[in-house]
């Protein structure tokens, strides 16, 4: 892969275009991936990181072609393993600005183990998970986020699997920044991407992304003009949970979220979003499970949870620095050990 070598980000003002490569983007026309690519290219100039310090690492899948289209350092690796590769890279090179690009099959199925440990260790990097609820690159098998009953090539009579809730998984894995965005709301996506980048720790962003070839309309209720207002809830820190053009709100009755009509309630009565409250974040994550039968709740978008914790690479390096200051690194005394003898 090659790079135009003209602008490198030092003292130069880069634009979104500077982050595009000369490679043709080969996603299907109309794919939600285009929007994500565009939003990331748009926010990168504002993060003020030299281009050569930015690295995109992906696994395998449609989403994972992403690094080829970014004029930065990049690696398109193997299925599910981007999480392990970024861990090693960040551990040895903490100053790099690393973006891991992955999908629902890549990180929630074959690479599930790496994702949970990546979040647990809290490397300071960004994880962007494109969730289209289908295997696109392999042409249409159901994925670990496909709803039960999904008709796909491998489930002609409907899937019998229960789907993963990626937000719950990220919270359960001790993620320190857990958010959701959607391809059709670019302004909001850019906000979330920037917030994720600003967070010091592993930032996990699930992005609902429409696969218009194999799973078109999977997120229609959150994007269709006539449906999205009543089905989406945009989270803002310190603000009440209001939706449907502020005509409805959410209150908490104990641990139970209840929808109320704002004609009879004031915003102060509503649940005020607190990004640092993990218990409330867990309840918000569970909105996912409130289907028609349970009393439908809107799907939250935005930052569910954010908290500061030591990053792995920092503690890792601190320990090395400590022992470096305590004991000289003398290779000859290491080789000889303490119990050598001499044959004369």
């Amino acid at each position: 892969m090659q790079t135009k070598n003209k602008s490198n980000g030092h003292g130069e003002t880069l634009t979104a275009k500077d982050f595009a490569t000369d490679q043709d983007v080969r996603w299907c026309p109309g794919c939600g991936d285009y929007s994500i690519l565009k939003q990331i290219q748009t926010i990168l100039p504002s993060i003020k990181v030299p281009r050569e310090n930015i690295v995109f690492i992906s696994g395998i899948g449609c989403s994972s072609r992403f690094p080829y289209y970014m004029n930065t350092y990049g690696m398109h690796s193997i299925h599910g393993r981007a999480g392990a590769i970024v861990s090693g890279l960040k551990a040895v090179n903490p100053e790099l600005d690393i973006w891991m690009i992955t999908g629902d099959g890549d990180s929630l199925s074959i690479g599930g183990n790496h994702l949970i440990h990546l979040l647990r260790r809290n490397f300071n990097l960004n994880i962007v998970l494109f969730n289209n609820q289908i295997y696109g690159l392999t042409k249409g098998q159901y994925s670990p986020t496909s709803p039960k009953g999904q008709i796909s090539k491998s489930t002609p009579f409907g899937s019998v699997d229960r789907p993963f809730n990626p937000i719950t998984l990220a919270l359960g894995s001790e993620g320190t920044f857990v958010a959701r965005a959607i391809d059709r709301n670019p302004v909001h996506m850019r906000e979330i991407l920037s917030a994720a980048h600003d967070h010091k720790g592993a930032s996990f962003i699930e992005i609902y992304q429409n696969c218009n070839v194999f799973n078109d309309g999977a997120f229609e209720e959150f994007t269709d003009k006539s449906l999205k207002d009543q089905n989406t809830l945009y989270l803002e820190n310190g603000k009440p949970l209001l939706f449907d053009n502020d005509s409805k709100g959410i209150i908490l009755e104990g641990f139970k979220p209840v929808i109320v009509d704002m004609d009879s309630y004031s915003p102060d009565d509503c649940w005020i979003h607190d990004e640092e409250d993990k218990i409330k974040a867990s309840i918000l994550a569970e909105f996912f499970d409130y289907t028609e039968e349970r009393g439908k709740l809107p799907r939250p978008f935005g930052v569910f949870y954010k908290n500061q914790r030591n990053t792995y690479e920092q503690v890792f390096q601190d320990q090395i620095d400590l022992y470096r200051s305590k004991r000289e690194a003398d290779l000859d005394s290491l080789l000889s050990g303490n119990n050598f003898w001499e044959v004369k």
Binding site: M1, Q2, T3, K4, N5, N8, H10, T21, Q23, P50, E52, N53, V55, P67, Y68, M70, T72, Y73, G74, M75, H76, S77, I78, R81, G83, A84, I85, V86, S87, G88, L89, K90, A91, V92, N93, L96, N113, H114, I116, H117, Q319, I320, L322, Y323, R324, K326, R327, A329, L331, D332, L334, L335, S336, G337, N339, F340, W341, E342, V343, K344
Partner: protein
């Protein structure tokens, strides 16, 4: 008191055996250190059960430590023992068959009560210590448990604590027997139990009691003296294979100003490499215990991409899991070292036993045409040289390199004339020279005359580029599905590895002459047994030679010619003939396999016996 007769010997084999909780490994380790300091050459072989604490007294729970030491060059821990030390009946039952006729047995009688005899499956509780079945040996039956308890009465320790000291009684006794001083072990004990002086003093008392018991006990007629060996002048230390390997990695990184990143997942018998490396943080060593084997390999790839000397270590089952990632490293052409400390397979197999059955996995075990260099260590100290060389090849040729060790060399130890840091090789690290650009575009797969691309690391300004597992266009590295390009790239990657043969030493004959009737060709941990067998066969008048391979892929460039000078090539391996296959395939030579897959190393006699079957070739001349 009757003075014991001193008997001088060139070499002696001792086998310590007892329950896995009896401190056998520590006893053997201490004896090793002491005779090394005295100046003997030595080779050791710890052999322990897979279970941490198998039921006490059972045959499955027997742990052993064998060593041969001598005034002459020692290559193996020995086939059969001169002295067998057993702490219980099970230990005797398992090991008696390998004791030389007339050999010495030192037995703890407390380990031969009815319960122990039954657990050891002696029929109807027959006690071999009293039923004259051991009349052909020199038996020293001592109630070590009782004597240790008596000696430590005054210490006020619990029975359990006291009983843990009985291995020191045995060690003291054996020191006396071999005219060695207990001083080094006293020093060791003081240091080990720095924080618990009472335990330290109890152990020292037990050690001295055992030593004095030998001195005052009339039953012992012989005391052995083994002179110091005439090893080449220089400084030595004891080293086992896993430690030597770990030190080589630190040395390679330190000498070449590269950060060392070692990613691993716990697995026997490779874990000790992780343990050793994790202690050297003052060298900036980054050890990473990953969530699984695949993650360890992939984290190493990430670290390599990030500019570190990246290493992942495991054993066969773990290497199987790493296979896809290793293929990615081949495809990326990124430097990385993969260590396989082999054990008995397939599957979980024999985790604590040794085998050489992963050679074909190492050479071929990846999807697609994915050649990579494979090196093997032939002894504990050789692990240092091989691992250092693997790092050199990885960095200088921008490729993953696989190092084969095995349980035998990993846990075995020997004296090592360690190098000085100034004598270690410096690597030629390929950085871009500036000619890798076309129209200001950096070409990440622009190669030198050896097909080696530069090592560019994120953070280097002006060189941003993308790499990946998809087939890439020559030079640009852009994704390419073109068939002709793919064939070209497959060929380039293969040639790149083949060219490494020009940058490794020519193969030498370890012992014997070119054109001998029979060549014994080996690789890896069979070195000691083959070398000793060859020496003895030559002394017995046979025309044989020994060649031992360090470079298994690619082979040294003169190997074919060299092999063809011998009438017959025989290949002893702890597998079903894997090197034999590679040799036949590469050189069209009718190599014959000598196979052993019992989880144990070859004995010298086994090799001699098998080689003699090819005597017809020796008789042609």
């Amino acid at each position: 008191m009757k003075e014991p007769v001193d008997e001088s010997r060139d070499e002696v084999v001792i086998h310590f055996a007892g329950d896995s909780g009896d401190g056998i490994q520590l006893t053997g380790g201490q004896f090793t250190e002491t005779v090394e300091l005295f100046g003997n050459d030595i080779s050791t072989f710890p052999n322990f059960p897979a279970e941490i604490r198998a039921p006490i007294g059972t045959l499955a729970g027997v742990s052993g430590f064998q060593l041969k030491f001598g005034s002459v060059e020692v290559f193996t821990p020995g086939d059969r023992f001169d002295v067998l030390v057993v702490m219980n009946a099970a230990a005797l039952k398992i090991n008696l068959k390998n004791l030389k006729p007339g050999g010495i047995i030192i037995a703890n009688t407390a380990g031969f009560d009815n319960k122990n005899l039954k657990l050891a499956k002696y029929i109807d509780g027959a006690n071999p210590l009293i039923d004259h079945s051991l009349d052909n040996y020199q038996l020293h039956a001592i109630d070590i448990t009782k004597m240790t308890r008596e000696a430590l009465k005054e210490f006020g320790l619990s029975v359990k604590e006291v009983d843990r000291c009985k291995n020191m009684f045995v060690l003291g006794y054996v020191y006396w027997m071999f005219s060695q001083t207990p001083d080094n072990t006293i020093k060791f004990i003081r240091n080990k139990f720095k924080k618990n002086t009472e335990i330290a003093e109890a152990n020292i008392k037990a050690l001295k009691t055992g030593y004095n018991f030998g001195d005052t006990n009339e039953t012992f007629k012989t005391r052995f003296r083994i002179k110091a060996a005439s090893l080449p002048k220089g400084k030595y230390r004891n080293i086992n294979g896993n430690s030597a390997l770990a030190l080589a990695l630190v040395a390679a990184s330190h000498k070449n100003d590269l950060d060392l990143f070692y990613a691993s997942y716990p697995i026997t018998p490779a874990s000790d490499i992780l343990h050793e490396l994790s202690r050297h943080k003052n060298f900036g060593v980054k050890t990473y215990q990953a969530e699984d084997e695949i993650a360890a390999a992939c984290a190493a790839i990430g670290a390599s991409f990030g500019g570190s000397l990246a290493v992942t270590g495991s054993s066969g089952p773990g290497i199987a899991l790493k296979g896809e990632a290793i293929g990615l490293a081949v495809m990326l052409e990124t430097p990385m070292v993969i260590i396989n400390v082999q054990r008995g397979g397939p599957s979980t197999g024999l985790p604590t036993k040794t085998e050489q059955a992963d050679l074909l996995q190492a050479v071929y075990g990846r999807n697609g045409e994915a050649p990579m260099p494979v090196l093997a260590a032939s002894s504990p100290k050789d692990c240092f040289d091989v691992a250092y060389e693997a790092c050199r090849i990885a960095v200088e040729h921008m490729t993953p390199v696989l190092v084969l060790s095995d349980g035998y060399v990993a846990n075995g130890s020997e004296p090592w004339q360690f190098p000085e840091s100034k004598d270690l090789k410096e690597f030629n690290i390929h950085r871009p020279k500036g000619d890798e650009f076309v129209d200001e575009q950096y070409l990440p797969y622009y190669r030198d005359e050896n097909h080696v691309r530069p090592w560019v690391v994120p953070g280097m300004k002006g060189y941003t580029h993308r790499v990946g597992g998809l087939e890439k266009e020559e030079k640009t590295g852009n994704v390419s599905y073109d068939g002709n390009n793919h064939e070209l790239m497959v060929k380039i990657r293969a040639e790149k590895i083949e060219k490494i043969a020009d940058f490794i030493p020519q193969q030498e004959i370890n012992r014997g002459e070119t054109g001998a009737d029979i060549l014994i060709l080996g690789w890896g941990s069979t070195f000691g047994a083959i070398e000793t067998a060859t020496k003895e066969l030559i002394e017995e008048g046979l025309s044989v030679a020994h060649i031992h391979l360090k470079y298994l892929f690619p082979f040294p460039s003169n190997l074919g010619e060299l092999l063809k000078s011998f009438d017959k090539v025989v290949v002893p391996e702890m597998n079903r003939g894997q090197l034999t296959k590679l040799i036949r395939d590469k050189f069209l030579i009718d190599a014959q396999s000598i196979s052993k897959v019992k989880g144990l190393p070859f004995t010298v006699d086994e090799i001699k016996e098998q080689v003699l079957k090819f005597r017809e070739y020796a008789n042609q001349k």
